[in-house]
């Protein structure tokens, strides 16, 4: 299993180091520095903006009381449902020269030409940072919020008694304690940024991902693609280490015990409005506006968009995502139970390796999956030709099988995390009771574990399913000829500036994406009431 997940990475590295056609010197001399520079700027920008938004909103909803706070606490998660590439198209459409906003401005001020006034260009690095930030901050928000809630109420009290004011207490006590959790959140947001293709492609921001596509799809150079992929892997390894260090330190920093919630400070007047504004803005820009735009586009062009072709794309999306999520969850149950039966360091390492896929950008993973599958196909084809005189074509790499394998590897971490969290809630003595009562290992799994972890497994399947639905970069590389999913369909139409026709597909994706977000927010609500020590399991599931 772990080997399966390492294979693509190994393939990329191997091809990067021993390519048939070495373009390293060429890359280094020309585009690579630019790709790396842009990627760094983008990562830093998104990191900073998610950090600021996530921590500020998390702090406000946990420490203060203001109008709509309770609603905002879960509304703040909603932008997570909107894929970066969708929001990019929507805002471009809204803010470009021919868009309604500039149109209105020109009407009001009697401007006529673009040179008559200054308006920020959406399709730029700044725009990419802003838009990715506004849909990715919930990662930071979620983890920071959980961490602020988990902190023992005594620590800030101690700090206050020793003479620090509330602001100083926040910066000297509460923020440092939450720092590991925040680091994990920022690392996750940056991983998503590294993975993003739709936004940067649309905005012509030449990052490594965009470069990989250019080299691979436009120049058809697999070795060069692998070499850029290897560079991206280096970034991914950095982010994994950031996340890992965060998680490890978290154990020492945070005790699970919590002595009741601290009362929230009630804000009045201007402060309350400011707090409401700070928390509502991300929801407004990250969800409300794009969702309204999508709905209006989709409603206006329903007839044009609701075609048999569209329905076949939707079915493609459903079955590829369904197959991938079922496989990912089944594998996760196997891994989780195997770890339970044999608690060895090797097992733990294997399951950790198996979940590394989530840090590897989809594009790199796709190239990595393609290499061994293509090798297998060619071998099979050669074998059949030699012995039976028939050609098999591309059995694996040219079909949706490749897509499913890539999805499974990429999102296995999500399912392993959720399933292991559910397993973790079943005490070990439950296994021992079942076994001593005469049930074998498999029977124990079937009769006692599966009924108990059912809901966790379903949640995991759902989250993986939705992640697969949204997945764009890997699908673009791997899809067979004429095979479109909703995500690639939206991408193609939108990049041809036919946003209205693509809105229906995007709306489907967003609607599907809302499901896990709703589950997440329900866990948040019940977690607030029932079990404050236990943060939302899907949050952990996303990032084991």
């Amino acid at each position: 299993m772990a080997a399966l997940c390492l294979l693509p990475v190994a393939a990329v590295l191997w091809l990067a180091l021993f390519p048939s056609e070495n373009i390293w010197p060429h890359l280094i001399a020309t585009t690579l520095p630019g790709y790396i520079g842009n990627t760094l700027i983008l990562l830093a920008g998104v990191g900073a903006s998610t950090l600021l938004t996530g921590v500020a909103t998390a702090r406000l909803v946990t420490a203060c009381e203001f109008p709509l706070r309770k609603q905002l606490e879960w509304l703040l998660l909603l932008p997570l449902a909107i894929p970066g590439y969708v929001i990019a198209y929507l805002y471009t459409d809204l803010l470009e020269f021919a868009g309604p906003v500039q149109h209105a401005l020109r009407a009001v001020f009697n401007w006529r030409l673009a040179s008559d006034y200054w308006f920020p260009e959406v399709r730029s690095m700044g725009g990419a940072v802003m838009l990715l930030g506004v849909v990715l901050y919930p990662y930071v928000y979620l983890l920071a919020r959980a961490s602020f809630l988990e902190q023992s109420g005594y620590l800030p009290d101690v700090s206050r008694l020793m003479g620090r004011g509330p602001v100083a207490t926040f910066f000297h006590v509460e923020l440092p304690i939450a720092r590991p959790a925040i680091a994990v959140g920022v690392a996750l947001a940056m991983m998503e940024t590294l993975n993003d293709f739709g936004t940067v492609d649309f905005f012509s921001v030449q990052t490594l991902t965009a470069g990989l596509y250019d080299v691979w799809l436009n120049m058809g150079n697999l070795g060069g693609g692998a070499q850029i992929g290897a560079t991206m892997l280096a970034f991914a390894v950095l982010l994994i280490s950031l996340e890992y260090v965060g998680r490890r330190r978290r154990r020492f920093y945070q005790s699970a015990s919590r002595f009741g919630g601290r009362p929230r400070r009630r804000l009045r007047g201007r402060a309350a409005w400011a707090a409401l504004g700070v928390c509502a803005a991300p929801v407004l820009f990250g969800f409300v506006i794009p969702a309204l735009l999508l709905v209006s586009h989709a409603a206006g062009h329903f007839e044009a968009a609701w075609t048999p072709r569209f329905r076949s794309y939707a079915l493609n999306s459903l079955w590829v995502s369904g197959a991938a999520s079922l496989s990912a969850v089944a594998l996760a149950v196997v891994v989780g139970y195997a770890r339970r039966l044999r608690r060895s360091a090797a097992m733990a390492a294997a399951s950790r390796i198996a979940s590394l896929g989530y840090a590897v950008p989809g594009a790199v993973l796709a190239v990595g999956v393609l290499i061994p599958l293509a090798a297998f196909d060619n071998a099979a084809d050669a074998f059949l030709r030699a012995h039976f005189g028939v050609t098999s074509g591309l059995i694996l790499s040219g079909t949706s099988f490749a897509i499913i394998v890539t999805y499974v590897i990429r999102f296995l971490a999500v399912s392993i995390g959720a399933v292991e969290a559910s397993f973790g809630k079943v005490s070990e003595s439950m296994d021992m009771a079942a076994r001593t009562l005469g049930h074998g290992a498999l029977q124990t799994l079937r009769r006692f574990h599966l009924p108990l972890i059912k809901s966790g497994v379903l949640t995991a399947a759902l989250i993986v399913f939705v992640d697969c639905m949204k997945e764009l970069p890997a699908t673009l590389i791997l899809r067979p000829f004429n095979f479109e999913t909703l995500a690639t369909h939206v991408y193609h139409f939108a990049s041809d500036e036919m946003i209205e026709q693509s809105a229906l597909g995007a709306l489907f994706i967003v609607a599907a994406g809302l499901v896990p977000v709703i589950i997440l927010s329900r866990t948040i609500e019940s977690a607030g009431r029932l079990d404050p020590a236990n943060p939302a399991p899907p949050a952990d599931a996303r990032a084991p």
Partner: protein, 345 residues
């Protein structure tokens, strides 16, 4: 009669650390025994090894004359025909009381299962609770369901891992007696693991006192208390202090308190330590021997006084609580030792 359970020189390791070292003991049919020791002494590992959840690095385990585990492996837990009761009860939360109790009876006919479940639920005093779910039961009731479930398949051996630790003290005492009575009634053979002396004394036809992965003494509860084999056992079981003594001629030991008979085979002149339990020191106002009260702890029916002897050595004395004396007063005492416990100094 052959022993029902025979543990022969077993050793177990976790990672690199030895958890159990060369441990042996036997359990006769119908015997109710316990393993007692501080946390981390390896007692639970022994239980897990017997149940089949812990591999052996050395030694072997035999049940009814058959080897069920040795260095090379063993029967899987589900084929050992033994049952286990856990500290957290480990009831299946998705099954009713009835289904929980029937969990080990899946190989039997429905009618037989129903009869067994009914009769065992009556025995543990839960008749009529068949359709409740674990979360609807109190801690004590959950404990009874766990016991019923473990006993239902008529196991050869019942293993209990800290079964009373999750209960509050009153209930713990009551259930302890009840469970012991029930096990006696049906003649079950039982091995209980605990860090609580009272548990061990109740399930104490044999008590194994464990320390650092080895059994220091395997004996009846009475002898473990009154005739501890090692200083660790003497320290760990009950209260008491050691005072200095020297063996003198005539098989006697001279101590600061008195000259005691019985030198336990130590030659004259040997310096020894003598165990003095709080109930060995009896308060008597007429006694010529006095000690100064340095501390007192009120325990309801009696006081536990800490007394300083002239040399500065301290002893404990349990005195009925109507003898109310202040710290600093002198207390007249008489030494009344039935079992002299002596270790070389």
């Amino acid at each position: 009669m052959p022993a029902l359970l025979e543990v022969r020189g077993i050793s177990c390791r976790y990672e690199r650390r030895a958890a159990v070292v060369d441990t042996s003991f036997t359990l006769e049919q119908g015997m109710v025994a316990s393993l007692l020791g501080p946390s981390g002494c390896g007692k639970t590992t022994v239980l897990r090894a017997i149940a089949g959840f812990q591999a052996l690095d050395a030694g072997s385990i035999h049940l009814s004359g058959h080897c069920i585990a040795d260095r090379r492996g063993g029967l899987p837990p589900e084929r050992r025909k033994l049952s286990m009761v856990f500290q957290d009860h480990a009831l299946f939360p998705h099954l009713s009381v009835e289904k929980n109790v029937a969990a080990g009876l899946f190989a039997r006919a429905a009618a037989e299962t129903r009869d067994i479940v009914q009769s065992i639920l009556e025995k543990v005093g839960l008749a009529g609770m068949n359709h409740r779910y674990p979360h609807e039961l109190s801690g004590g009731q959950q404990q009874r369901v766990a016991l019923a479930r473990a006993l239902a398949p008529s196991p050869q051996l019942l293993l209990m891992d800290e079964p009373f630790s999750n209960l509050d003290p009153d209930l713990r005492e009551k259930l302890r007696q009840e469970v012991y009575g029930l096990l006696q009634d049906i003649g079950a053979t039982c091995l209980l693991v605990t860090h609580d002396q009272q548990d061990a004394f109740t399930f104490g036809e044999r008590v194994g006192v464990m320390r650092d992965g080895a059994i220091e003494q395997w004996d009846t509860a009475y002898r473990v208390y009154h005739e501890p084999a090692t200083r660790f056992v003497a320290d760990f079981i009950g209260e008491g202090v050691f005072i200095d003594g020297v063996v003198s001629a005539g098989n006697r030991i001279d101590t600061e308190l008195a000259s005691l008979r019985g030198a336990a085979g130590h030659p004259p002149g040997t310096r020894v330590k003598v165990l003095i339990r709080p109930d060995d020191i009896i308060h008597d106002d007429n006694s010529p021997r006095c000690a100064t009260i340095t501390q007192r702890a009120f325990r309801g029916e009696n006081y536990l006084y800490t007394l300083a002897l002239p040399s500065g050595a301290e002893i404990l004395s349990l005195v009925p609580s109507h003898h109310n004396h202040a710290v600093g007063e002198d207390l007249g005492i008489v030494l009344d030792i039935d079992h002299l416990v002596v270790f070389p100094a």
